[in-house]
């Protein structure tokens, strides 16, 4: 079975500061990894994903995450945050291969960006 742990439930930062949201997973098989973002009163949107290949993946709005197999981590980073990045972020893992796309989610991290 897989599990995902997001190490911080809330992360407050000032605008233009760097941020890191931490995610660790446990799995005995190869995995796919995802970060989703949820803005207030909305559903989840995919931010970025790691399926294979380069271990550093990037989103269109400046976030990046690095798959670290030895540390079983997939931390999300952004060098300079904006007020509009305020949202809840979820890390998720899917077992590679035929798993019907089932995802296991972490508990979520609420990022609050202050002016």
């Amino acid at each position: 079975a897989q599990s995902v742990t997001q190490l911080d439930s809330q992360v407050p930062v000032f605008e233009e500061a760097p941020v890191e949201l931490r995610c660790n997973y446990s799995s005995s098989v190869s995995v796919y990894l995802f970060w989703y973002v949820q803005y207030p009163n909305q559903g989840l949107q995919l931010l970025l994903k790691y399926l294979s290949g380069s271990t550093l993946v990037e989103s269109i709005n400046g976030f990046e995450a690095e798959f670290n197999k030895s540390q079983t981590s997939f931390h999300l980073r952004k060098p300079s945050v904006h007020i509009s990045d305020t949202a809840e972020y979820f890390c998720a893992v899917s077992r590679g291969g035929t798993s019907y796309g089932k995802l296991t989610f972490g508990q979520g991290t609420i990022l609050t960006v202050h002016p």
Partner: protein, 110 residues
């Protein structure tokens, strides 16, 4: 763009009522999922379906059932709603890997 729609954004029901939550996707995805989202607990999988009329229990199926008569539609049923089922319910569809989510239904059971 993939579109996943849910029948209601907000719903208020009384204890003991039968509740239907509907989800429709327009991308011919094989897999569909129902989650509930509660603060501090993230998303927990209730049921999923990998084909028409096929379903499997997720992590928290107790008190829920599902129906998938057509590929594009996946319904979540609360046979007898209880106050501890007050939550945000999210539907998703997926080919394999990435899931696409609907906007959610916030259900309150009084």
């Amino acid at each position: 763009d993939v579109k996943v729609t849910q029948s209601s954004r907000y719903l208020v029901k009384r204890t003991g009522e039968k509740v239907f939550l509907e989800c429709v996707q327009d991308m011919d995805h094989e897999n569909m999922f129902w989650y509930r989202q509660d603060p501090g607990l993230g998303l927990r999988l209730i049921y999923f379906s990998y084909d028409v009329k096929m379903k499997e229990k997720g992590d928290i199926p107790e008190g829920y059932s599902v129906s998938r008569e057509k590929k594009e539609r996946f319904s979540l049923i609360l046979e007898s709603a209880s106050t501890n089922q007050t939550s945000m319910y999210l539907c998703a569809s997926s080919p394999v890997g990435e899931q696409f989510f609907g906007p959610g239904t916030r259900l309150t059971v009084l």
